[in-house]
């Protein structure tokens, strides 16, 4: 390289799709320093610019796509303009006329998402190299499919490097850790091993939550701890015989729900009532006989038969149903009922006035 007369330019992508030619993989730091390579990196295109390009391109079509659809494409493209254009083309043509504005959408970015789940699977299955596995070669004797290959008796090297897996998953550390937490219990049947994994995952959670640590540590650090801990402890675990579906972490939805309820509580005229959610609200519901599901006190003290997973609207519906089945509370003897006689509903008519008398003031 140093003896080259003309400058050499390498144009490589560090995307997941071309992992084999990833510059982070093929050019070591030593190689870069030794040959005096200068690297210019390009960031993904901002969503707003992708959207702008999409709207412009869509405008040139005979039947432009709706604005909402352009927004969805821009989000899905994740900064890849070429991908965005391909998706635009996919959605603009075809026999279905409702593609331009309808709810149906053809995504071209599906491969990337599958890649992510594939990587999570690699971490959870934590496959190790089996030296007893016959080498597949031209002259190797063919083995019958039904014959079992003996498992190695000691812990061998991992089939895939954890660092590579993390890079290929293209996930943030906290997201990766929450995915592992959601699915680990299936892959780690030994409860003592699971305890150790969860301990490490909670350590990761603490690191990602703490402001100072989050800024001080490299982005990948937490993901490395989580991945290596899971891969180490999943050795000889009871792996499911068939492929297991990787579940999305529910903790994010739960956090969103909790935050929503907390915001509602904050709107009440309460200052520093720490015990409101666990003490005041349940007792207040009992004392005042509250049955309105829109009241936050009622919502907080709802029956445990109504799961949070059904969503806010469903919960309110179920609460309304159970409230209608409940008998109305009798008015206690010591409470004097005030009945207003002749309380007719008053109606107000607002007449349009031609002269603006307020101007005089």
């Amino acid at each position: 390289m140093q003896n080259l007369w003309h400058p050499a330019i390498f144009c490589l992508s560090n995307g997941v799709a071309n992992w084999k030619l990833n510059p982070d993989r093929i050019f070591t730091t030593g190689f870069i320093q030794q040959n005096g390579l200068q690297s210019l990196s390009f960031n993904p295109v901002a969503d707003s610019f992708v959207k702008k390009a999409l709207v412009r391109a869509s405008g040139l079509l005979s039947r432009p796509l709706s604005d909402a659809k352009c927004n969805v494409i821009a989000n899905e493209a994740q900064g890849d303009l070429r991908l965005a254009m391909n998706m635009l083309q996919m959605n603009a043509i075809g026999p279905n006329s409702d593609r331009n504005s309808g709810a149906k959408m053809v995504f071209a970015a599906k491969a990337n998402r599958e890649e992510t789940f594939h990587m999570i699977g690699r971490i959870l299955y934590a496959k190790r190299v089996n030296p007893n596995m016959p080498k597949t070669g031209r002259f190797a004797p063919r083995k019958r499919k039904s014959s079992l290959i003996p498992e190695p008796k000691e812990r061998t090297a991992l089939e895939h490097d954890p660092t590579d897996i993390i890079a290929m998953s293209s996930m943030s550390s906290d997201k990766l850790a929450s995915f592992l937490f959601e699915n680990e219990h299936v892959f780690c049947s030994d409860i003592s091993k699971y305890r150790q994994v969860v301990e490490n995952l909670s350590f990761c959670d603490m690191l990602t939550g703490d402001w100072h640590t989050k800024r001080a540590l490299p982005e990948e650090y937490v993901a490395q701890i989580a991945t290596r801990s899971v891969m180490w402890h999943n050795y000889k675990g009871s792996r499911p015989g068939t492929l297991y579906q990787v579940r999305r972490p529910v903790i994010n939805d739960l956090n969103r729900d909790i935050e929503m309820t907390r915001n509602e509580v904050r709107k009440l005229p309460l200052i520093g009532s720490e015990s409101f959610t666990y003490l005041n609200a349940p007792y207040q519901t009992k004392i005042e006989g509250l049955i309105d599901p829109r009241r936050v006190e009622c919502f907080l003290s709802r029956s445990f038969l109504i799961s949070w997973k059904s969503g806010r609207d469903q919960i309110e519906d179920q609460m309304e149903k159970s409230a209608s089945l409940r008998k109305p509370r009798k008015i206690p003897k010591h409470v004097v009922e005030i009945i207003e006689i002749g309380d007719e509903e008053e109606t107000w008519d607002i007449e349009d006035s031609s002269d603006d008398s307020f101007d005089d003031f």
Binding site: S189, I271, Y278, S303, W308, P332
Partner: protein, 305 residues
Amino acid sequence: MALWVDKYRPKYLVSEKNGIDYHLAQAQHLKFLASDCMPHLLFCGPSGAGKKTRIKCFLRELYGTGVDKTQLIMKPFTTPSNRKLEIQTVSSNYHVEMTPSDMGIYDRVVVQDIVKEMAQMSQIDSGSQKSFKVVVLCEADSLTRDAQHGLRRTMEKYANNCKMILCCESLSRIIEPLQSRCIVINVPAPTDDEVTKVLRNVIKKEEFALPDAVLQRIVEKAEGNLRRAILMAEAIRMENEAGVSSNAQIPVPEWETYLQETSRLILLKQSSDMLLKVRERLYEILSRCIPPAVIFKVISFQINH
């Protein structure tokens, strides 16, 4: 209809009528502090011990009944990332009450901007009344360390204009420099006898009969939390309108029974399936905004007993 906990809340530090019922020596000290040059105060004690009641009585002692005329004001502020947020405050002419920890990691901005701004403003007509005003910060132990450090300077610089009253449950989560700038008023939970005495007073004022056996069970269940004891007494009254029998059930929140069942499951079998089941149950409780600290406390108590 006000809850009994609010209706029968004491109004004065030391008084025959509507005075504080227990920790009377401490109340005398507070009265003395109110008449003297008031320092920054840090009220610390478990939930339902009477911290807020004492703070309110103390403020009334300082400024008179004017502190009862409060209004709810939303104070807007902008975060360094240009996010516009609002914090709820309750304020009278003499004091402001707020919970900066409600704003999460932005509590530092609240402390540095809003509290500082309030501290900078002088009291109107300081000749005829106290020369300072009071800022009450609730749940001070939930403040981030940054916010607590931010508070140090404000407390020192504007000490003549503005006095701080911090309210917290755990002193260990308050940084040392902040503790040393305040006089710590420890409010321990009332004893069972004190809770019984207060409950008897409330029952007498409400003119209803509560058998001694039920009263005893309420006191035991309350575990030194007076708020809880009064709420339980009111709930039992509402559930038994015809009259409370001596074997009446003490109403407990549903989440407590649910947690008891969860603890039983934990002890029953330690397997991956059970782990998943327990996790789902914990999510269910968390979705009702029950604080994790309370969940931990109840579960660990149940498991150990």
